[in-house]
């Protein structure tokens, strides 16, 4: 696999590589416009066409710095950024509220973010709410029938990936030849914190994907649906995934998509086989007692 120039910090360029030429209108989604250039500058939101179809685009700007919240730079999602992204999602839902399923616009999340705002002011005012608000908005859009595709181009790190990516229907990632980073923590830090030698962890991770870093490990866990090994592959892969997701939704196969669908994929690919077992056990145990908890009639 030939190493390629990293896409890290190049979210805006990625938008142009993916959408129809010259079609991206930043700061407008449905009826909502984001006119204040100082509001959540780390979040890029707007509308484009993709294969001729109206699509909401949400990305991080790796070069932006939020003057009001100095811990927000290099693609970090701060409070303003999280709520701005949530607003873009709600505006997408509202714009297509009356439309039939197949006409609801897709949302494409371009993922290159190292984290959430790690500051004192953020904790005082509740950074956790901003990122949770965005996740709930994405989950709502997904459950209301919008196709949501995440395209990992650079950093998809821990809580920031939860926030911006892991609520998508389907996740596509550039391969490791682009220096793509998907992890909770690099293995070196894991080694330090859980006090296990790095060599031991590296050895175990050859057969067990649950803690190692990188797109291939997430693929076997079902966390990434598809890997592409060249930037030219992003646009066609996303167009295909949108069509597949829309078809699955039209057929009522919502459960094959999103976080729940990734669970099944993780079992199928052998990366997460314990999850379904414990769930089946609980279902069986609950079925045996459910009658006791039903109301008396």
């Amino acid at each position: 696999m030939e190493m390629q120039e990293s896409m890290m910090g190049r979210g805006r360029e990625a938008i142009d590589m993916i959408v129809d030429p010259e079609s991206f209108q930043e700061n407008t989604v449905g009826a909502q416009s984001f006119d204040d250039p100082e509001f959540g500058p780390g979040a890029v939101v707007g509308t484009a066409t993709l294969d001729g179809k109206t699509t909401t685009i949400i990305a991080s700007d790796g070069n932006a710095f939020n003057e009001k919240f100095p811990v927000v730079y290099a693609g970090i999602i701060g409070m303003e950024e999280g709520y701005k992204m949530a607003q873009a999602v709600y505006a997408s839902i509202a714009a297509d509220a009356e439309k039939p399923l197949e006409e609801k616009r897709a949302l494409v999340l371009i993922v290159d973010t190292p984290g959430n705002g790690p500051g004192k002011v953020e904790e005082i005012f509740g950074m956790n709410k901003a990122t949770a608000a965005y996740q709930l908005a994405l989950a709502e859009a997904r459950l209301k029938g919008h196709a949501i595709i995440a395209m990992v181009i650079g950093r998809a790190i821990s809580g920031a990936f939860l926030c911006h990516g892991l609520q998508a229907d389907s996740i596509v990632s550039l391969d490791a030849n682009y220096g793509t980073m998907i992890h909770v923590m690099p293995l070196t830090s894991v080694s330090r914190i859980i006090k296990k030698p790095l060599e031991v962890l590296e050895e175990i991770s050859k057969d067990n994907a649950v803690f190692a870093a990188g797109p291939r490990f997430f693929y076997s866990l079902g966390g990434v649906g598809l890997i592409v090994d060249h930037v030219d592959g992003m646009r066609p892969a996303i167009i295909d995934r949108v069509a597949e997701v829309q078809k699955a939704k039209a057929e009522g196969k919502q459960d094959t998509l999103g976080p729940w669908g990734r669970g099944a994929l993780g079992a199928e690919r052998g990366g997460r086989v314990e999850r379904p077992k414990v769930m089946a056990l609980m279902n069986e145990e609950f079925a045996a007692v459910a009658g006791q908890y039903a109301p008396a009639r």
Binding site: P118, A132, A133, V278, P295
Partner: protein
Amino acid sequence: MSNWQNLQPRSFLEASARDRALGLVDEGSFTELAGPFDRVTSPHLELLGDAVAFDDGIVTGIGRIGKTPVFVISQEGKFIGGSVGEIGGAKMVNTIKLAIEFHDDLVAKHPDLTDEEKPVVVISFETGGVRLHEANAGLLAHAEVMDQLQKARGKVPVIAVIGSKVGGFGGMGFVAAATDAIIMSEFGRLGLTGPEVIEQEMGKEEFDASDRALVYRTTGGRHKYIMGDANFLVQDSIEAFRKQVVELAPLPVSDFEAMRRIGSPETVEKQLRLVALAAEMQPQDAVDVWAKAGNENAAGLLDVPFAEFMSTVKRLAV
């Protein structure tokens, strides 16, 4: 006195996850699902040569409060900080899923089902989020929990109870924020980036994690109550938490929707007014915000007795 009666006056902070679960629901009503006798343990910890727990550090099951079926998830901070791995995460996800399915079954069977007969979910948080020993699986489980919380909307109310020292941080800080109603004690803590992590990433000037008073001012129950992030603040006992859950359990789901801090375009607007206030104030300390809320004795608010705090505190309104 029965074990259940003995549990009631006990400190929630010091209780185990199982005692919290047992004590929150009616006496003798709790059935544990995938409990310790099932011995479902983490193979990933075993592979690393680490100790395992027969419940993987999380108690899941169903009990009853009056006529309400109550699905309970209770995290155990004494086992690897209550961290969430593949099995514990799956137990959490599936408990909420079972509650939604049970709701749908009951509604289908009984068109006259009353609000108090509809299931609720109660989650006791004691976790810093992802378990690093199985980090990727834990992370993916968090996304599944968020998905289930959205699926529960409008059907099954989800109540967060936070009265543990570990509290709810990391990815589980998102999850707690995404529930319908949050009950805290003053010893409970809620946030995203833990004090140690902020200090490590941004330096001691940004946050001195060894300053316990600072930690509680920023993330503790009293602060979160002033900010509106906790809907209810209760004394540190199992019965005090239970009493609040008992009051909430029979309410219609629309009442829960009204308690939400996030989850709609309108609540996002409101939160953005708070963010604008943060930008304008640039507070050095939570005390600045308490004063802004109209508390004359802001600096002393952590020290006044609980009852006095509750009767005099002014909560932030935007």
